[in-house]
């Protein structure tokens, strides 16, 4: 069942949490609401769940306007960041809660709960209390508790935010597999762009109560709509440039032409260019001409690329460059060594100056 939030506005006092936000989640898809904290993503999720009443706007499940329905009547599965398990109930009773309040017959409750506990491989924990579970186990229980009454949609509020990195990535994969099996329309909130890209079919970037961009992960990553999205996705060099004759030149007076994206420009042509680390290269000599001198600060060789952080003295800029391990060995870089940063040729020709 599709979910649509139309022109939703929500204020808390003077603070505008959602400002005329429209988000669509097609039936069966897994959509990520991505953005910095305070951006309005949790508020939007709570409005969809019926936990907050919007000041204006409507929420539709399929074609039904459910804006006025209470949370209880919406039949949504909701997962909280901090699990919100019932502490005085066993794992079994937690999962059974939604079935018991619906007055399911006891044998049916048993079957359903045990089936779900098997799904998350926690059958043997049925008799324990939440206090005796690890964070990852708690969140799995919270997930199946939400799934138990067969909700029409699933809403997850930073479901993995309180877990450590390894458990987070396991649960992430598990969530994706589960979604592939069940196809329940789902929206999840995250501030972790990697998580959003890894799990979601669509990504909605929210900032300051507004939608910055909506699209498939690959679209958002390859064609960020604006500087905010580019910046938020992270792993990018934000460099001051001036735009002259369709070319972005570094700094006040520099002549280095940069690849990457430029979003808008002030009257004198000054703006920021966003250059991803892999769009740059390092060289020992300045033979290409289009390069700038920098000093190696730090090298992180752990990974499929070698991440080099450099300091460009002339411009007072910190610049990150990713190079292949082969290239790294060929250059034999050492900290504090001077080296030249050059834009990759193909990257420059690809540049799309959206001015």
């Amino acid at each position: 069942m599709s979910i649509t939030a139309q022109n939703v506005t929500k204020r808390f006092g003077d603070f505008v949490a959602l400002d005329d936000v429209t988000v669509e989640c097609p039936a069966g898809e897994l959509v990520a609401l991505l953005g910095p904290s305070g951006g309005g993503k949790t508020t939007l999720l709570r409005v969809i769940a019926g936990l907050e009443v919007p000041d204006s706007g409507t929420v539709l499940f399929k074609d039904d306007d459910i804006t006025k329905h209470s949370a209880r009547d919406r039949n949504v599965g909701f997962v909280f960041q901090h699990y919100a398990l019932f502490r005085h109930m066993t794992v079994f009773e937690n999962v059974a809660f939604g079935l018991r309040v619906r007055k399911w017959a006891e044998p049916r409750v048993r079957d359903r709960v045990l089936e779900l506990l098997r799904l998350v491989r926690l059958e043997e924990k049925a008799g324990l209390y939440p206090a005796n579970l690890s964070g990852g186990q708690k969140q799995r229980i919270a997930l199946v508790r939400a799934l138990a009454p067969e909700p029409k949609v699933m809403l997850l509020d930073e479901p993995f935010g309180a877990l450590d990195a390894k458990v987070r990535s396991e649960l992430r994969d598990w969530l994706r597999r589960l979604h592939n099996e069940l196809h329940v329309t789902s929206i999840f909130v995250t501030h972790d762009q990697e998580e959003a890209f890894e799990v979601a079919d669509r990504v909605v970037v929210l900032n300051k109560g507004r939608v910055e961009q909506t699209g498939a992960p690959v679209e958002v990553f390859e064609r960020p709509a604006n500087g905010f999205v580019m910046d938020f996705l992270g792993n990018v060099n934000k460099l001051p440039v001036r735009v002259e004759g369709g070319r972005a030149l570094l700094g006040e007076t520099g002549t280095v032409e940069l690849p990457g994206r430029v979003f808008g420009a002030s009257e004198n042509g000054r703006t920021d260019a966003y250059v991803r680390p892999h769009e740059l290269d390092l060289a020992r000599t300045a033979d290409g001409g289009n390069c700038l001198l920098a000093r190696v600060l730090h090298v992180n060789p752990a990974g499929s690329v070698v991440k080099v952080r450099l300091w460009a003295e002339d411009f007072g800029l910190m610049i990150n460059v990713d190079i292949t391990p082969e290239r790294y060995r060929a250059l034999a870089l050492k900290p504090t060594e001077p080296v030249y940063i050059t834009p990759k040729a193909e990257a420059v020709s690809d540049t799309d100056y959206a001015i």
Binding site: A49, R72, V101, R102
Partner: protein
């Protein structure tokens, strides 16, 4: 002691010694003296002192009134604590401070005020007595005054629990389809239960020991409105050779019974706290 060295705060021996001395001087020795004095009676004398019809009526009234008052205090106290924690209204801080007043007020004052309010020509009594509600010099009077004295215990034990309640658990219950009553009954109440039982136990214990106010409101009629504490005092005043011992015998019965009941309540509380 190797184990003591692993503690963050020092002073295990000092604090445990102090605690034991304190308990001995202030609790165990006086209560022990009471039991020892009572033990100077022969078994038959003891039985005769503590198991008269008048004494049994007094025990029944003392425990019955204290239990009933504690139960009412639990309900009233929960309501008051709920309102004080969950809602904002003008004068809230004043109301909050008023809850402590029964703690501070000399209970004799409370007794005097209550008895004057509910007598036939009192402010409230002039309306209630014609309806057959005797709020003064009756068993009802005892329960009323014990609720007044007991409910602040419930309010003050529940307030912090209510404030710390996980709001998301309530939201989770609603999202899972629970009605408001189901949410209260199945999610909120079990979380409040340990605090509620603690408050109940405190109010009950206070009600058992209450003397000053009850003396003024009950009328102290033997077999009808006489509480055990009053019986003890009247035994003392009789001035017979064994009066003092008989009084301590009754006190011993009261002591043992109270202790047993408080143990039961503590067990219940520990049980409701699991998980």
């Amino acid at each position: 002691m190797a184990q003591a060295n692993t503690r963050v705060l020092p002073g295990y021996r000092l604090s445990i010694s102090f605690t034991l001395v304190y308990l001995s001087v202030l609790v165990i020795i006086p209560l022990g003296a009471c039991v020892i004095t009572a033990a100077q009676l022969s078994w038959d004398q003891f039985r005769a002192a503590v198991w008269t019809e008048r004494a049994r009526a007094a025990y029944a009234l003392t425990f019955g009134a204290a239990l009933l008052a504690a139960a009412i205090s639990a309900v009233v106290g929960l309501l008051v604590a709920w309102v004080l924690v969950r809602y904002e209204f003008p004068g809230k801080r004043v109301f909050d401070a008023l809850v402590d007043l029964p703690f501070a007020l000399p209970t004799a004052v409370a007794g005097l005020v209550f008895s004057n309010l509910y007598v036939a020509n009192g402010w409230l009594g002039q309306f209630l007595v014609p309806l057959g509600i005797e709020g003064s010099y009756s068993r009802l009077a005892i329960v009323l005054v014990l609720v007044f004295i007991g409910f602040p215990f419930v309010v003050r034990t529940l307030q912090p629990v209510l404030e710390a309640l996980d709001a998301e658990a309530e939201e989770a219950a609603a999202l899972l389809g629970a009605s408001r009553w189901q949410t209260f009954r199945r999610v909120i109440l079990p979380a409040l239960m340990p605090g509620l039982l603690t408050g109940f136990a405190l109010a009950f214990a206070r009600g058992l020991g209450e003397y000053g106010s009850v003396v003024f409101v009950s009328g102290n009629m033997p077999l009808k409105t006489e509480i055990a504490a009053f019986l003890i005092v009247s035994r003392l005043e009789e001035g017979r050779p064994n009066s003092y011992r008989e009084a301590t015998a009754i006190a011993t019965v009261l002591l043992v019974a109270s202790f047993l009941m408080l143990i039961v309540i503590n067990r219940l509380e520990a049980r409701s706290r699991r998980g």
